[in-house]
Symmetry: C3
Subunit: 138 residues, 3 copies
């Protein structure tokens, strides 16, 4: 049994879902393990992770609109140090995921056919986001 870890940097330039499946699968493949457990950890509180539908761009747009509606920009927040998109970003991150674990079985991540891994950027301005990847197995 062994472990591998790395940091993945993602440049974002808008709010929304950015697919990172290929970059993550590529790194996992490079580790040449057959069975194990992958953890993807988002090191931010205003961006998050989501496993969602990878085939329909319309579903992604509906997801983005839904989280914008359920945790809207509003003058009612006490915390607005970084502008009107600051607190909604924390709320949308709290409603989705900071961390995901995905089994590796027979040399492949257990993702279903229609599942993609997405970084969910909640801030309007460009950011550099870091995902910690950790794989344990053999």
């Amino acid at each position: 049994m062994r472990q591998a870890a790395t940091m993945l940097t993602i440049a974002t330039d808008r709010q929304g879902l950015i697919e990172v499946t290929d970059r993550i699968v590529g790194w996992v493949d490079d580790q040449a393990m057959r069975t194990g457990l992958l953890t993807v950890f988002c090191r931010h509180t205003s961006a998050s992770l989501l496993i969602q539908e990878n085939a329909a761009p319309a579903a992604r747009r509906d997801l983005e609109r839904y989280f914008a509606a359920i945790a809207p920009e509003s003058p009612q927040y006490e915390h607005d140090d970084e502008g009107p998109d600051d607190m909604p970003a924390h709320l949308r991150a709290a409603l989705t995921n900071t961390t995901l674990t995905i089994p590796l079985i027979d040399g492949e991540l257990a993702l279903g056919t229609w599942q993609g891994i997405y970084l969910f950027e909640h801030r309007r301005r460009p950011h550099r986001r870091t995902l910690a990847l950790h794989l344990m197995g053999e």
Copy 2:
């Protein structure tokens, strides 16, 4: 340290919470480990996972009604390829969990007394759902 993995198939015939604790605990027991980490991974984007109250059926019904109300069927979604319950299914999955990790300590999953593991089916029509189970430990 060793690993075990399997696929668990669940037939669903309605929207709602379906308890899968016994099937998962049964498989974990069969692996005869004392300490480890269990991962339950739902290979779908229109069904999800939830650890919730296992004693009160009324709590489960309230949970089902709540997610139906907070992510309702509506003509406003752009993505409706598979009908009016298509996009709400993705939203309810995004608000709950695709993956759960549960420690195994002293031969038992660390679930509290009132915690059950549920598959949350978000589609109206019958589906066959697959959960990937992965256990690592000794």
Copy 3:
């Protein structure tokens, strides 16, 4: 590769976010591992876990108000065995996390600069909450 596990008890006396980062980091440090995977598992269905902003108390207050508003106390719930804060507690737990996994890399948890680990207490009355901690690595 080895494993360590413990139970952490947190006394709560009000609804809201209680930071537990220091207690968790302290236990992880005591295990003297360089690389590994930490799991924090909340053994309750009316309290939950959240990784969020650790610098701004106003952000924590906004988070608490948001979850109070999105899953409010209401006479409409069928399940109210333990009072009006019973069912909203389950809903707020379902919207956040029962379990978190955090990689340990180069001797440190992969938490970002502004990330803290919080127990989210959803009941009004004092409770003793138990978190199961599990670390696997070397």
